[in-house]
């Protein structure tokens, strides 16, 4: 009985699937496949060798400091970084006083409540504060940015396929749409308030080119601030903001792996020893 029912169920499901397949195949063969602009012109992020890449990679502190400066002076005007606190910058090599200064001089003050009136107020940032957001809420962010909310950057390199390579490629990828693209897909031309960038999934994004001219940011360590340098530095910085425990994690990993390797060898010897009399021969 079970076998009869299961055979019928099997024939039913297999039949439906094959029928679906047939219908799909007929449609596939008889209708013209429409190529989309995104499919054809969207580019995969260019690979760049960041200092923190690879199992032995480590952050370049100087680069992270430069990246922080790019974020502070260029990105922070629109993009929040709400999962970071000023105290976290100790990991970039700043001492307590430098962090205090950095926090106090941060372009956006910390929102607070006036103790006397209960109204909203602001105060200078303290090291324990999280980084203040540029807009008080999503509605304000949307209103100020042509209806596109600038995403929070704390986790950006973990939240996009391609990670830091994507961020770097995107920042360097602003260009006019190619004639070829426009000829093939006239609709792919950037609309009002949009900007063409082949590294963005649908080719047009609301963010205007943020890093435009060399020396837009003046680096404290004297590094020449080419546009590529700034894009690379801020991408490296975003690797750190997304994964501040990266180095600790890998160090732990090496120690644990070394330990486990020894443990595995000992376990193997012990196992072989115990089985010595049971194997053939």
């Amino acid at each position: 009985m079970i076998r009869l029912i299961s055979t019928l169920v099997g024939i039913f499901f297999v039949g439906m699937l094959l029928f679906s397949f047939g219908t799909g195949a007929v449609t596939y063969l008889t209708t013209e496949q429409v190529e989309t602009a995104e499919h054809k012109y969207h580019k995969k992020p260019e690979a760049y060798a960041f200092a923190s890449d690879g199992a032995l990679g480590q952050f370049d502190e100087q680069q992270l400091q430069r990246g922080l400066k790019v974020y502070q002076e260029v990105c922070a005007a629109c993009h929040s970084m709400k999962y970071l606190s000023f105290r976290n910058f100790a990991a970039l090599g700043y001492d307590e006083d430098q962090i205090k200064n950095l926090a106090a001089n941060w372009p956006i003050p910390q929102p607070t409540v006036n103790k006397d009136t209960g109204e909203t107020d602001t105060r200078p940032n303290l090291p324990a504060d999280t980084l203040p957001t540029p807009f008080p809420n999503e509605v304000a962010a949307r209103a100020a940015n042509n209806n596109a909310v600038p995403p929070d950057l704390s986790l950006m390199t973990k939240a996009r396929p391609g990670g830091a390579n994507y961020v770097r490629s995107l920042l360097l990828g602003y260009q006019e749409p190619s004639a070829e693209l426009l000829a093939e897909f006239p609709d792919a031309a950037p609309g009002e308030g949009l900007h063409h960038n082949p590294w963005f999934p649908n080719l047009n994004l609301a963010m205007a080119q943020p890093l435009v001219i060399p020396d837009q940011v003046t680096y404290d360590d004297g590094t020449e601030a080419s546009v590529e340098q700034m894009a690379t530095d801020v991408a490296a910085f975003l690797i750190w903001t997304a994964e501040p425990k990266l180095e600790e994690r890998r160090q732990t990993g090496w120690a644990v792996l070394a330990f486990l390797l020894i443990a595995a060898v000992l376990a193997f010897l012990s196992y072989k020893q115990i089985w010595a009399d049971k194997k053939k021969g």
């Binding site: 606190s85 324990a128 330990f259 000992l266 012990s270 020893q273 115990i274 010595a276 009399d277």
Partner: protein, 195 residues
Amino acid sequence: MTDQIVKDNGDVASGDNTENTEDGVRRRDFIHIAALSVAGVGAAATVYPLVSQMAPSADVLALASVEIDVSAITPGQAIKTTWRKRPVFIRNLTANEIAEAKKDDTQEMRDPQTLADRTVDGKENWLVTLGVCTHLGCIPLGAAAGEVKGEFDGYFCPCHGSHYDVAGRIRKGPAPSNLEVPEFSFLSDTVIKIG
């Protein structure tokens, strides 16, 4: 089964006829002991992060010290603020109160301390104490305007009737010790750093 040596502790060491010397047995035992020891070390090492994760996290520790601007507190006034999520009383003593506290320095007390012991040299008008009764942890009254200050003009804990004097010393009631003075210092004339 015949060629197994079953030890009292339940470990089974195997041996075959050619190698069953005392040395051979010892070497094999050593491997089992080493393997078990490494497993034990590994298990113990795993416990560390599991225990450590319950300790205060980085954001909590970041608030372990606070800076407070006291310029707005006039003599005779006190404020309640918080430090490590507990209330702190900061009191600006008047000249009279300082005199009263010093006069009492020689009185017999449950927890003898002078005003000088409880304040910073040269700034003995600033009395900084935790607002936590040393009896059972209630918050004493007396910091805010209009609150009962108790029989000794300091703080009064309504839970079980502990009376503290102007220097926050226990004078009457069940509390065993004076209101705790946290570690603090003056960063400038008007800014106190607690913790």
